[in-house]
Assembly symmetry: C2
């Protein structure tokens, strides 16, 4: 293989890695801004999130096309093949994180003018901070190929899931307290579910980082456990 | 290329197609059984869905590995490359449909013993029938490479989305009527959202079938429109 071909190949691999880094930054920003717009019920910002998510979709499609061309033309083996597969998977997770941020933004628009109370927001904001920290850490672990940092992200997903389950209960209780809370709290529940899923995608990326560095699939059972789907709150008449 | 190599290659492609067909049948069954268990609040059946979803995950992982090996070793071009990429994408959509069915099944377990009313179920059951019909049609269109049938599925996704938006309103109304309905209707809302997302995955598969047959990305704007995220119901005191 001539040096020219090798360096062109490296360039292609670096180009995909650069796009992933760009997508990662964009996904973090979309989640942060979407949650901010929810906390302040700021519909203008929410509309900007919806528009920006399209750019992430375009980047993902480009990443996928480039990865496929590399596999088809370069026949990468072992570590290189894992790199390319990992890039495809991470691009797909980041694109879905963007979709979840967009969905939060859409709900901000629905909630415009609805009855609300600041106390509803605390739990959602706290969950969002944790999910964002997970996303940031897992993107760092991908950039530096730090398999231990990826593993820590993977383990911490439990915390987000536990938070979501307790928030689910809390919001159902507000709904039972006063029917005027129902619409707002229902949308918040869906927002919280979206944030919990953002955490799941960070966990997926952690698994991908583990795979790309070690060549092994993370063997332990995934700690994730969203118990809200098995959570019920009984209504008690006062 | 020797005949031996060609026929081994065809065999590999057929093997992937067979696995997709198997996954498709399994995904349809999981959705059907999960929705059935929700209608009857049958927790034993729900538990069986949760266990069976694991098989779908294993099949998807195998499909993906085989598709990557074909791309790396055979360097497929044009139509063949599209076939392999399509197989990967469809396997991923079917795996996610299985996850959504599993999530419905988990909620059946949560709802065991909760206050409920049969009238809540009608809308969800109707939506599920439409989603299942979409899934069946799109899998047929993939098996027969029928791009027109795929296009019809793609267009019809609007109906599921409209149904979901109206169901969202209806369930919020039941919640406002009587706080004892809140837990049940909240879980039903999440089930309805899962069914709506199953429809989205059928639409993704329709786009993939279009791509594999024509080599083109469906150019029209996607008709899908889940308006529930912009839907609010105001509580009016009687």
């Amino acid at each position: 293989m001539s040096e020219h071909i090798v360096s062109k190949y490296d360039e292609e691999l670096n180009d995909v890695a650069r796009r992933i880094a760009e997508m990662g930054g964009m996904a973090e920003r979309l989640v942060d801004v979407a949650v901010g717009s929810l906390m302040r019920l700021d519909t203008d910002t929410a509309r900007a999130v919806i528009a920006d998510d399209k750019k992430l979709d375009v980047l993902q499609r480009e990443c996928e096309e480039r990865a496929i061309m590399i596999i088809a033309r370069r026949q990468p083996m072992a570590m290189d093949l894992r790199e390319v597969i990992a890039a495809q998977r991470i691009a797909s997770d980041l694109e879905r994180i963007g979709d979840l941020a967009k969905n939060i933004a859409k709900r901000v628009i629905a909630l415009d003018g609805q009855f609300q109370s600041k106390r509803f927001n605390t739990g959602v904001e706290h969950m969002a901070q944790l999910s964002l920290a997970q996303l940031k850490d897992v993107l760092d672990s991908y950039a530096t190929r730090d398999v231990e940092q990826a593993y820590q992200v993977w383990k911490r997903d439990e915390e987000i899931d536990a938070m979501y389950t307790s928030l689910f209960r809390e919001l159902l209780t507000y709904m039972m307290e006063d029917p005027r809370n129902i619409t707002f709290c229902t949308h918040l529940l869906f927002c919280a579910k979206n944030i919990e899923r953002i955490g799941d995608h960070a966990t997926n990326i952690a698994e991908t980082v583990h795979y790309v560095v070690t060549g092994q699939v993370l063997a332990e059972d995934r700690p994730k456990q969203d118990d809200s789907s098995t959570t019920a709150v009984a209504y008690e008449q006062n």
